[in-house]
């Protein structure tokens, strides 16, 4: 029985070696690196926006699935109470492909400038 399938399993295996999406996701870079590489005019524009904190609270719900309010585990940082500028910088670094993490790039690529300002303002206020 096993021999009968060995060939088949192998051919399925090779057919499945496909490439899609982003690759080379590495360890995250520090925020100092982010700030030197991201588009600084977008950063200052976002920081100057009038933020809607209620909208920020709603968007924060998406973050809180993974970023717990007081994590014991260190793999995903706590962002509650983080500095607004650091959050904006980090989100822009993911959005602009400076920082690598496929989950965060996907999240950040779906946020408008207004949404980034709102969510960063909300976390900053916690």
């Amino acid at each position: 029985m096993r021999q009968v399938y060995a060939g088949l399993v192998l051919s399925i295996f090779s057919a499945m070696l496909m490439a899609n999406g982003d690759s080379n996701e590495g360890a995250s870079s520090s925020s100092a690196e982010n700030s030197s590489q991201i588009n600084s005019s977008q950063l200052s524009e976002i920081l100057a926006l009038q933020a809607d904190i209620d909208y920020g609270e709603y968007i924060a719900g998406e973050c809180l699935t993974c970023h717990s309010v007081s994590a014991h585990d260190k793999s995903i940082p706590v962002i509650h109470g983080s500095d607004k500028k650091l959050i904006v910088e980090a989100l822009l670094a993911y959005q602009q492909g400076v920082r690598e993490n496929s989950v965060m790039r996907s999240v950040a690529s779906n946020l408008s400038d207004e949404e980034i300002a709102a969510v960063a303002t909300f976390f900053n206020a916690q």
Binding site: I12, F13, G21, E25, G61, E62, C66, D73, V103, S106
Partner: protein, 421 residues
């Protein structure tokens, strides 16, 4: 369905009465009432995001403790303990003021806006969240039944079934084989069966059970993260796992749990342990309340998770048909927040924002070998559609796979504290 002990019954009754009388009637206030049926990934999150002091929130949950299905495969593989995947509702009650009622919702009186419990009590609602997860269609696999699940566990609902499967895995000897019957689409956690066999093979490897094998009889012709799993199985467990798709076996005819056999058009497969995962539909309360369509799941409005058949009801999690979103704990948690936003707006006039949904499913293939697939979603032309997606790649280096696995540990801590406080 479980039977309540006298103690549980009394407790449920006591809490049920308390939630009916307070606070609106006793204090003469009239906070709008929201009832949530089911305290899983969807329902617990919904209760928590609804309860901000200005609503009277009641959560009806049949079990005292919730054992997550997420990470249950890691428990099977001895990577996590049972305790570490089991959670209580205490904080939802004490820190968030949710009325937690331990009981089973039997019926929804939609015209009267009332939920009737098995113990005879009832709870009124202005808005209702239905989050019962799934029911299993046992006889979708001929020969399988709820009783047969005591011999050949599905372990596709958390808790006792997960423990039973673990006991049976622990009792296997070197040379014993496992046969899994995988579920047809749509089912909860698309990569779940394949993560499970990875963890089964991991256990064989840890215990030196070099002569044992695992065969997956799949009603599908392909599966989630197939390239990644196939690569990982070859790498970590070469020759141990065989996947046999529908185009090879030709159809699953029947199972005999006593004999330990699965008969297909092509051949009969034999195992000392069978893990049968049948077809799934929305939890029974969604069926009884006629919230489901022909698929057995509930159609919702993409912008809000509101039921398409009753504007006072929101269906979230596995019970819903959520467009491109897979049935996952992450999805259920995400949908709960959209539903809570809209319910609060309905009842309190607070602001509504465009629905944003997200999901990531991490899977562990071997020691420190984690992979992920995920997406962001929005309501597009009345459907939940993905706006960006990502998936781990074959051939990634060990350091990245370890980082991915570690990320899932952080996610588990995050989502469970988001659900339960």
């Amino acid at each position: 369905m479980k039977h309540l002990s006298r103690r549980q019954f009394n407790k449920a009754l006591g809490l049920g009465v308390a939630s009916l009388s307070a606070p609106s009637m006793l204090l003469g206030q009239s906070k709008p009432k929201v009832v949530v049926i089911g305290g899983g990934a969807g329902g617990a999150t919904a209760a928590r995001y609804l309860a901000k002091g200005d609503l009277d929130v009641t959560l009806i949950e049949d079990s005292k403790k919730y054992t997550t299905c997420f990470y249950s495969n890691l428990y099977l593989g001895d990577v996590r303990t049972f305790d570490s995947i089991t959670h209580g509702y205490e904080k939802l009650a004490s820190d968030f003021g949710v009325n937690v009622v331990n009981g089973f919702a039997m019926e929804i009186d939609r015209a009267g806006q009332m939920v009737k419990l098995k113990d005879g009590s009832s709870v009124a609602y202005d808005k209702l969240v239905v989050a019962p997860g799934i029911d299993l269609v046992y006889d979708s696999v001929p020969g399988y039944s709820e009783e047969a699940a005591q011999i050949a566990p599905h372990a596709w609902q958390g808790g006792a079934q997960t423990q039973l499967l673990k006991e049976k895995m622990d009792a296997l000897k070197n040379g014993d084989n496992i046969v899994m019957v995988a579920p047809p689409n749509p089912y909860r956690c698309p990569p779940g069966p394949y993560e499970r066999v990875s963890m089964m093979a991991h256990m064989f490897k840890q215990k030196g059970m070099t002569d044992s094998t695992i065969t997956i009889i799949d009603p599908k012709t392909k599966f989630s993260k197939q390239g990644l799993f196939t690569e990982g199985w070859e790498k970590h467990y070469s020759g141990v796992i065989e996947w046999i798709g529908a185009d090879i076996h030709g159809g699953i005819k029947s199972v005999d749990v006593e004999a330990g056999t699965v008969e297909t058009d092509f051949d009969t497969f034999e195992g000392q342990l069978l893990n049968i995962i049948p077809k799934q539909i929305a939890g029974s309360i969604a069926q009884t309340a006629e919230l489901t369509d022909d698929s057995g799941f509930c159609q919702i409005e993409a912008e809000s998770m509101r039921s398409q058949v009753d504007p006072n009801i929101f269906v979230i999690g596995d019970a819903s048909v959520a467009g491109a979103m897979p049935k996952s704990g992450f999805s259920a948690n995400s949908q709960a927040k959209v539903a809570a936003l809209n319910i609060r707006a309905d009842l309190l006039g607070t602001k509504v924002f465009p629905a944003k949904y997200s999901n990531t499913c991490w899977s562990l293939i071997g020691t420190d070998d984690g992979v992920k697939v995920g997406a962001q979603y929005a309501a597009v032309d009345g459907k939940i559609a993905s706006t960006s997606t990502f998936i781990s790649q074959t051939g990634e280096d060990a350091a990245l796979r370890k980082t991915t696995y570690e990320e899932s540990i952080g996610w588990y801590e995050g989502i469970t504290s988001d659900m339960f406080g």
